[in-house]
């Protein structure tokens, strides 16, 4: 029996995406490296790695270690800087066939604004910005914004004034109350929030008594953090009205459905891309079957997790 293709399209702000499965920042490069292995035009959107005002070499190695059902990274926002990004990457995005969401990181309000204004001053295929206010691995990663409500709100509203494009604030789980940060992002004028960034973690080699990561602390990702991601999305769902993009440990279609049930409108797949850059396309094919089989719409699923009496 053949099904018609399900309508997987979703709306965030004024942008219509063909489907809700995006690739997460830092796990798909600038978006063009994987063309050999994946049909990127199938993806809902590509969120680029974080771009900063100046180029960054990133942290010294070791930068990465596997942990049970996850991994810890401390890359340190290695990137080419916004000027080279404009000259080298923006032209490549023309005709890529996938919405590009540019992730921006900064260490000050001015840096975020400068990067965004530089992109706004040129014409590009970028449909929106995801603002990294939650990188746990570098002092300059914007984490001071992501843990403070008033700074989150003022940064969001400063950026909102300067762009009509989609504005997504990426939230950290490493806070006492993620709902209040999400509310600040909404009050500042964000179109959506994405949650979660990596969870602060540490890994030690007991044989050498050394940390497995140069910077001692790093960001834990992968299936190990899925329960944390689900909980954060569900908490945020009850406190804001703008869409939530769920992130954290998604490796299959079931995980996508769980995030939507928890309150997400779209999702991002991160660490799983490292193992299989084609995994999002597989997830999408199965999501299509799931929607057809259960005769449901994505919108009706959002936040509809059943509670015990």
């Amino acid at each position: 029996m053949r099904f018609a293709l399900a309508d997987l399209s979703i709306q965030i702000g004024h942008i219509r995406f063909n489907n809700p499965v995006f690739v997460a920042s830092g796990t798909f490069g600038y978006g063009t490296e994987n063309k050999e292995l994946v049909d990127v035009s199938k993806l809902g959107a590509i969120v680029t790695k974080s771009i900063t005002l100046n180029p960054r070499e990133g942290n010294p190695p070791p930068r990465l270690v596997e942990t049970p059902s996850g991994m810890i990274n401390s890359i340190g926002l290695a990137n080419i800087g916004v000027d080279k990004y404009i000259s080298d990457m923006l032209p490549v995005y023309e005709g890529i066939g996938t919405p590009i969401i540019m992730n921006i990181a900064g260490s000050s309000m001015d840096e975020y604004i400068s990067v965004l204004e530089k992109i706004e001053s040129v014409s590009s295929a970028i449909v929106g910005y995801e603002i990294n206010i939650s990188c746990p691995n570098v002092k300059e990663g914007g984490m001071q914004f992501g843990i403070d409500c008033s700074m989150t709100e003022s940064l969001t509203s400063a950026l909102r004034k300067r762009t009509e494009k989609l504005l997504i604030m990426k939230l950290s789980p490493n806070v006492t109350d993620i709902s209040s940060i999400a509310t600040s992002a909404e009050n500042g004028g964000a179109d959506a929030v994405s949650a979660i960034n990596t969870v602060v973690g540490m890994s030690i080699d007991h044989k050498t008594a050394k940390s497995n990561i140069y910077t001692t602390f790093g960001g834990l990702s992968g299936p190990a953090i899925k329960p944390i991601g689900l909980a954060c999305v569900h908490k945020v769902f009850h406190s804001i009205t703008i869409p939530i993009i769920g992130i954290g440990g998604i490796v299959n279609t079931g995980d996508v459905v769980e995030y939507i049930l928890a309150g997400a409108k779209a999702v991002q797949v991160g660490t799983a891309n490292f193992r299989d850059p084609g995994i999002c396309v597989k997830i999408l094919n199965n999501l299509d079957l799931y929607i057809n089989k259960h005769n449901i719409t994505l919108n009706n699923l959002i936040g509809s997790v059943k509670q015990y009496d």
Partner: protein, 257 residues
Amino acid sequence: MIIENAMIVSNVEIAIGIWQMTLLAPEVSSHYKGPGQFINILSADSWEHPVRRPMSIANVNGENINIIYKIFGNVTQQLSQKVPGDSLNILGPLGNVFTGWKTKRTVLLGGGVGLAPILNLYESCPNSTLIIGARTADEHFMEHEPGKNIFLTTDDGSLGVAGNVLTVLENLDFNDQIIIYACGPKPMLKAIQHFAAKNSVKAQLSVESYMGCGLGLCQGCVIERQNEQMKKHSYHEKYTLVCMDGPVYWSNEVCFG
């Protein structure tokens, strides 16, 4: 590069804790460029170990790829339990290749798990001097044959030359027509780098690194370049990606900290 479900043809222990696996991989083998390249393997479908493991290619014969691995942790343990007919998901071939060996005299050094690419290169240049180091005789699977320029070393002196690969290297006669090729643990590569600089000998080193993807996406596998002219703000001048730029580097290109 390609992702392929390869079929395991054989999987045998060739020395204590050291295994050789032959994979039928028509797709990946057809893209193979030469000694130095590697594949990233998945030991299981489960997500208990989410990250692929890099394994140097020890040999490509038609559609068959050989790897040699040492039992080190859960993943290599799982690998050793696989039997002919099982499948193994592999990504590859990845990385660059050893160069210059066709025209020069060569000395090849392998230590620990760094045997595979060196044995691969040895098949292409069998007139090389081959030096293989291990801790004990149990970890060796070749014969110590100085008459054929094959030297085995052991830390405890239980087989071949007592000492490490440097013990043999330091007693060889060198001239500028010789290139050293080496793969092994970081302290060994650091010592060879030092030897090459001191004796003005060229050396290519195959570097090992933690790796998240093998595709340049995660930026996790970097090592530091030797680069005195680095700009204050730069990108990929201070560090190089082992998965894409390596794993083979000239000894004066990289720093081992």
